[in-house]
Symmetry: C2
Subunit: 297 residues, 2 copies
């Protein structure tokens, strides 16, 4: 059973309207909230990262979810479970990394316990005031599809880490940057409903999620997707760009005439369903999309 | 290194005023927030519990933290990491248990991922409106010390589970009840600052934490602490009552003339430091207090 089927089951069990977007928008409190788990040897390996970078990325993953909602990232809480042999250095560096990533936020608490493997769960709270909050359900026919930046680098970085290399791609993989300015530019200025997601599970995954939730087709032009030309050295670079994940860029569907600074228009929202790339319908994308329940070797 | 030293280190690294209470009070948003990790074979064992009870208790542990702050428990998010072999039944029952515990709350999202062992991290949000929020720093000389109910049953239950028994104590251990009415009675009516904590890590631990944070002594009369008389069958029943933990009762220090329905007065706040029980100063309590970094066998 896959993550998405689990989420469907949870949604059915709870009969909740909140399950669906990465952040829950609690209108009565004027906040969005998001929680992510990072598990050693599933989401990260201490062979490739260190306490500082792990803390940094753990925060950034959640800040990215808040950015995807359009809200202002404001507070973090951290649940950290650690093996017995971890020392105070690890904890100090982990929290320094967290603090670096969460520069305009406050880290306000959490929990620390024992465990066999490192388990990090971070909750981020964003403030909705003065912002219009996104939903992946809000893509409308006639909207344009825009992204905040380059895709594929993080997946190439992970490949390189497995090969024992260090380069610009590995840096991007280990210390990504959430797109909070892109988010703010949209959510502070837009008047209409819009869709936005981060591309943590890959650009294609985000496009498919938006198309399904909004019941529209996203018509994408591959040539318009920005990427580092050095990726072309990899034979599967197109897959890295579309399915790689963990770039923590944002993809949004907004009205054609709504201008977003530093954005790249990669396609448009049309009638239909699913995603079409250069005129070709994308089928069986699930097999390529990164799935946490698949072993990652 | 122990949990409390870790928390001190984190607090120093972050230079944050928020670390200390189980809940962080975010005044600008009018909310309190709390996060707890529950790790398989550290905090629970699937030999003794099941998915429904685990879901129930995971929520209740956090609801208890919110109750300790005096806020109204309102929203939950859940980060759940599960081994590959877990089926949809487990997830359905886990969420049914969550829902049962969180009866007046909404479960609004979270994360689900893979892992070797079961990791549960729950974040609870409480609303401060119309309530006075507690702090363990707020015990004052002349206040009385009150508890919401009986102690020791949960620890006896855990003992029984290890011995393969099932009885009223094991039920209390597996499905505790957060003291939200006790919390509400205080926080909606009190005019002055007050201290309140849950007794998740044991009654003595809570008393010591309050005495340290408030720089006072708590003078306790053991005979006043309510407990199930069947506990007296256990030779170490006094330790179960004082150090056992996981009863999820509340202990509060409030003005002498402030009446709290269904509360038990167990002592008073006096000048000095630490805890005094029937005239005897409690020393080296750390060795008895449950510590997550100690192996539990």
């Amino acid at each position: 059973m896959k993550e998405k089927e689990f989420i469907k089951l949870i949604s059915n069990t709870l009969k909740s309207d909140y399950i669906g977007d990465d952040c829950a928008y609690l209108k009565d409190l004027g906040i969005v909230i998001s929680q992510d788990n990072l598990v050693e040897d599933v989401h990260f390996s201490m062979k490739f990262t260190d306490a500082y970078k792990l803390g940094y990325k753990s925060a950034m993953v959640n800040i990215s979810d808040i950015a995807a909602s359009g809200a202002e990232p404001k507070y973090l809480t951290i649940g950290l479970s650690l093996p017995n042999n971890i020392d105070s250095n690890f904890i100090e560096n982990f929290y320094k990394g967290l603090k670096k990533a969460a520069k305009n936020m406050e880290i306000v608490g959490g929990d620390i316990t024992g465990s066999d493997k490192i388990f990090v769960s971070i909750t981020a709270v964003g403030v909705a005031e003065g912002r219009k909050i996104s939903s992946r359900k809000n893509a409308k026919v006639g909207y344009k599809v825009i992204v905040s930046g380059e895709h594929g680098a993080s997946a190439a970085g992970l490949k390189n880490l497995f090969e024992g290399k260090q380069n610009k791609f590995t840096d991007i993989h280990l210390m990504p940057e959430a797109q909070i300015d892109f988010s703010k530019n949209i959510s502070q200025n837009i008047k209409t409903d819009y869709a936005m997601m981060d591309t943590s599970d890959g650009l294609m995954d985000a496009l498919i999620q938006i198309s399904e939730a909004s019941d529209v087709m996203l018509d994408i032009n591959f040539e318009k997707i920005p990427y580092d030309r050095d990726l072309e050295k990899y034979p599967d670079y197109k897959d890295l760009i579309l399915y790689g994940g963990e770039d923590y860029q944002l993809v949004a569907c907004v009205p054609k005439d709504f201008e977003v600074k530093n954005s790249y228009e990669i396609g448009s929202v049309v009638e239909g369903n699913g995603v079409q790339m250069n005129g070709q319908k994308i089928l069986n994308a699930e097999n390529k999309i990164y799935n946490h329940f698949k072993e990652q070797k």
